[in-house]
């Protein structure tokens, strides 16, 4: 119950901050239509990095086991 309340408070604070930030900064950030899309692209970029590094790990392992 405590953890749920904590989580909801954090989410609530995040939502408040995000809405204020949107008002202050406007919508468009370079080629990104919004902050949300920029943040999502960072998360996708991180996932892509992990995938590429995993591929490197697998494809560049030339050891004979």
């Amino acid at each position: 119950m405590g953890a749920f309340l904590l989580g909801s408070e954090v989410r609530c604070a995040m939502r408040n901050q995000e809405s204020k930030a949107k008002q202050e900064d406007g919508d468009r950030i370079g080629i990104f239509p919004s902050w949300k899309s920029l943040y999502i692209s960072v998360v996708v970029y991180t996932a892509a990095l992990i995938a590429v590094l995993y591929l490197l790990t697998v494809l560049l392992d030339f050891s004979v086991r």
């Binding site: 405590g2 904590l6 408070e9 954090v10 604070a13 995040m14 901050q17 995000e18 204020k20 930030a21 202050e24 900064d25 406007g26 950030i29 902050w35 920029l38 943040y39 960072v42 998360v43 970029y45 991180t46 990095l49 992990i50 590094l53 995993y54 490197l56 790990t57 560049l60 392992d61 030339f62 050891s63 004979v64």
Partner: protein, 564 residues
Amino acid sequence: MTAPDWAVFVLYFGAVLAFAYWQSRKNVGVEGYFLANRRLGWGAIGLSVMATQASAITYIGTTGQAFDDGMEFVQVYLPQPVAMVILCVIFVPFFYRSKVFTAYEYLEKRFDPKTRSLTSLLFLFSRGMAAGIVLYAPAIVLSVIMGWEETITIAIMAAVTILYTLMGGITAVIWTDVIQMVMMFVGIGLALVVLFATLASGVGMGDVVYIGGIQEMWTSIDLSWDPTNTYTLWSGLIGGLFLALAYFGTDQSQVQRYLTASSLKQSRLSLIFNAFVKVPMQFFILAIGVLLFVFYHFEQPPLVFNPAEVAIVQESDRAGEYRDLEAQHAEIHGLRREATLALLEARRGGGDVAAWQGQIAAHDEELARLRGASKTLVSEVRGASSNDVNYVFPSYLIQYVPAGILGLLIAVIFAAAMSSLDSELTALSSATVIDFYQRYVKRNASDDHYLAVSRLATLFWGLFSFGIALYAGQLGSLIEAVNQVGSFFYGSLLGVFLLAFGVRSANGTGAFFGLLAGMGSVFLVSLFTDVSWLWYNVVGTVSVLVAGTALSSILSSPGAARAK
């Protein structure tokens, strides 16, 4: 170093000082000195954030680590982009809008003076000691490799950094960080090019990738679940995420950077810039280490890279043992070189690569045994553990890099050290003046007075770090203790800030004792378990959040009334 190297070196220092002087004219008052009058753009701040994190040990130590263990260290950096997003959404708006000078100042606005003072004090203690290590670590390596006097190396780095930080405050620091970061990017590129150029003739890029691959040096992702191992994807993603949040979100040396932005948008973009650039940069630095590993398949590496340690052993009564190890090492290396060339031939001609790989693996095992034996010998003779990995890259530079480029690459190592030290000096002086002097000693003095005190504080911390660096060699276990204490409270500090941002019911007394409970929990975990230090950050954060929330509901505090 030759005359062209010295010319490049002197030119670099001259350019940094001249640029800092030029930038210093833009500073006005304490806000100018500590926050550049909040008018900088994301590009300069982003590069400064990056330069602050990348110390000389990033160059020297990380390349050496990749030389020994491959690319797996990169996993620690993987959560950084996501950490930057979390910082942009939660941390930066709170700091930016509250118009604070230090991260800890915000905690008084939200909680109470004792929480602010404790967190600021913890920062001063750990960063003050760390600033000395930032100076000492590269100085000792460069002194040994270049044959320079250690005190003079430390003094040059400290004097130049203190001078431009005193002159121009954060403006000079951030703009010189920009130059130094550009130098570091150039240095990484140059080091990779030079490494390829100095490879044995006939060995191409495909061969380099292949030789690294047969030894699993390109292994960047380890999916195993082992919390005692720092270098797994899960330790990196979870522990590394909390570490990155704590470092970039609660450490004044980073928070101060994005408080200098002209707007919240610029502040956030500086972190997003880091989100995109940091991991590739770290990847290429580690790749230098793997290339060095391949390079030394064709060139004879020293058995021990640190010449000072070699000299100590050679002068001891166990010199004969070392000579024997060296002779065996040279012989086995020669055999591995032949086997490696034969393997490349077999690969091109469709021969039996498995047989040659087997031979190389056997030679590698023997070489590793000899390296281990030499390390033990050095440790026994010196009476202290050996950290030879820090000498691998500088040793290569001095032996194989052409004149002119060597000067530039050595300047890059200096740049990395100075760009971390300058940020730490401005952060330490801002916490000293804003969190303690202005708060407890003199509340309503003039701007000129605070500016003068700020410069004095910068000078004090500069001399303090210089003193720590001079005696760091004799402090040994104390340095380890300081690092350990740092990892004890980093996660706990993050917990206090999350409590401030996210838990409305939290109050000052709950946060203060929650912080102590968090540090205590980490201490117990370190004492009774073998989990990797990366997880201490998770333990500290969660403990503070749970204890702080619970204690806040039990204990009352005047801070609760002010809670936003």
